[in-house]
């Protein structure tokens, strides 16, 4: 540095790069002190909760899938869980396994996309993934192949790769034959090797020495690395069922965001997503993912958000090995779905979307008409925590000039893989030092 930055300045990033959707960042520095940090979500509101009112109880899986092109399965699975809860139906056995398989496809697709195309360029000093690919062609090709395997699972089980059409309340419209799944197994064996290699690759990146003390929150299941179902647990002792969620989490509107901010009642910001899942559920990883995590030196006490890329890679291993196990043990269910009869009442459900816990709540009339719907996506839950982390990061790095501070701040945001389109009900960066 050849000069000191001014005592007051505004840093702006009007359109954050390499995040899902459109948002901005605004940082204000006054008289040498950090005054405000905002993650601005300016995508227009989506109104999905309102669309759902008056629709049939059979429709949320298809309607909410449209919320996101990256994680439609998460919306479908949480919607099904909540509606089935309202109707008193439990889907288990091979149909539940197929749901987990479909979900593994989405985790693979979403994590590979974020890791290789959005996040890795930060650590290797590239402006974007195309520049990374020009120098690391084999690596990026392997990453794109991994993403493609995820898409293929969605095509075979979900009917198509984007906004799958084969999911219904109670199960599926059609279940695949073992012969249809077999080619996926071969692809997944290669994908698993790529994922294990990916963990070793990203674990070798250089990470700034930072950490946070945020409460980490994730679904937890007695025997599985939770994806579909479980109780919501935290590193600070939270342990609740899905119907208790609205009593413990408050959503509030802030002027700079079309995404609602979520806080735990009387506790404050919290974080959902891969680092939370790993912190709470590492002992339930499959042997391949556990071995990859151990080799990478990762343990459940990890709190450096920059190392979230290593956790995502471990979850890629987990999703590949889990998908492979489900396919190897697959027997076609007798029927594609269990029958679901509507009844008046309220149902809640949640699953672990790639970016964290996704909660749905539906109130149904006795004929199955939806009277009320609430959807709490992971990014809106993480938004206050991201701002909290960003505040501390910027506060500790005010000596940097605007360009470098802006660049590193964007990296901080990408650590969390925010999905802005999902959260709007959101990203640009502005730093105000006036």
């Amino acid at each position: 540095m050849t000069h000191r930055p001014p005592a007051s300045r505004t840093l702006k990033v009007d359109a954050l790069a390499r995040v899902e959707g459109e948002g901005a960042m605004h940082v204000e520095v006054r008289d040498g002190r950090l005054h405000d940090v905002q993650l601005r979500i300016y995508e227009p509101p989506r109104f999905f909760e309102a669309f759902l009112r008056g629709r049939r109880f059979t429709e949320p899986a298809d309607i909410t899938a449209r919320i996101c092109g990256i994680c439609p399965v998460a919306y479908q699975m949480s919607a099904c869980a909540a509606v089935e809860d309202a109707c008193g139906v439990t889907v288990d056995g091979p149909l539940r396994d197929l749901r987990r398989l479909l979900y593994c496809g989405e985790w693979i697709e979403s994590h590979a996309l974020h890791l290789y195309l959005l996040h890795a360029p930060d650590f290797l000093g590239y402006e974007n993934a195309i520049a990374l690919a020009a120098d690391h062609r084999d690596r990026v090709t392997a990453g794109l192949d991994l993403k493609k395997v995820g898409n293929e699972i969605l095509e075979v089980v979900g009917g198509r790769a984007i906004h799958p059409v084969n999911v219904k309340i109670g199960g599926f419209y059609r279940v695949p034959t073992p012969t249809e799944l077999r080619p996926l197994a071969e692809r997944l064996r290669t994908a698993l090797d790529t994922a294990i290699d990916t963990v070793a690759w990203v674990a070798g990146f250089e990470f700034p020495e930072v950490g946070h003390a945020l409460e980490l929150v994730a679904l937890s299941h007695p025997t599985e690395y939770a994806v579909v179902g479980g109780r919501l647990r935290s590193t600070e002792g939270l342990d609740i069922a899905s119907h208790e969620f609205a009593d413990r989490v408050v959503e509030s509107h802030v002027e700079h965001s079309t995404a609602l901010h979520a806080h735990l009642l009387e506790r404050g910001e919290y974080l959902v997503g891969p680092m939370a899942r790993f912190a709470l559920n590492a002992d339930r990883l499959g042997p391949e993912a556990a071995a990859a995590a151990a080799a990478a030196g990762l343990d459940p006490s990890e709190r450096n958000p920059f190392r979230s890329i290593v956790v995502r890679a471990v979850e890629l291993v987990q999703a590949c090995s889990e998908a492979l196990r489900i396919i190897e043990g697959y027997e076609r269910p007798d029927r594609p779905a269990v029958e679901v009869t509507p009844r008046a009442g309220v149902g809640t459900g949640w699953t672990e979307a790639p970016r964290g816990t996704l909660w749905h709540r539906y109130e149904l009339d006795d004929d199955g008409t939806i009277l009320d719907a609430t959807i709490v996506p992971p990014t809106s839950q993480n938004q206050p925590a991201i701002e909290h982390d960003l505040f501390h990061f910027v506060e500790g790095n005010l000596h940097l000039d605007d360009d470098e501070l802006r660049r590193r701040s964007e990296q901080v945001i990408r650590n969390y893989d925010p999905c802005i389109s999902c959260a709007t009900h959101f990203l640009d960066l502005t730093v105000d030092r006036s």
Partner: protein, 151 residues
Amino acid sequence: MRPLVVGVGNPFRRDDGAGHAIVERLRATAVEADLVLADGEPTRLVDAWDGRDLVVVVDAVRTGADPGTVVVLDALATDLPAGPTASTHAAGPGQAIEWGRALDRLPDALWLVGVEGADFGEGPGLTPPVEAALDGAVAAVRRLLDGPDGA
């Protein structure tokens, strides 16, 4: 491998549906090519054209010409705008070519047949000048598929 025609765009954004509409017209006739629809996501476009000798991308364009004007470009010899790169949303053939170049996965010949759009607002349906230009665009694609003289 057979030639490939890729219709790119979003039919729910008015004239951005031109690429899909052209492919649908080609589908209704006998054509010696594989036909696919795409949303423009670059890595999927690269996957679609990887290993092909001849690929024609059909898409709506915005060059400032009169609506309905059909342009035929040698996409490997032309600097196509890479489009906004800030977001993972909104990408297109320009970025896909950059990807293909970085990954060494470009077809031997890659043509763009573009129709100048007028309205890219929300909703289905093409504007009359773009609708009227579809037959001309289909004929341009056919000439490219028929051989180098047609270009």
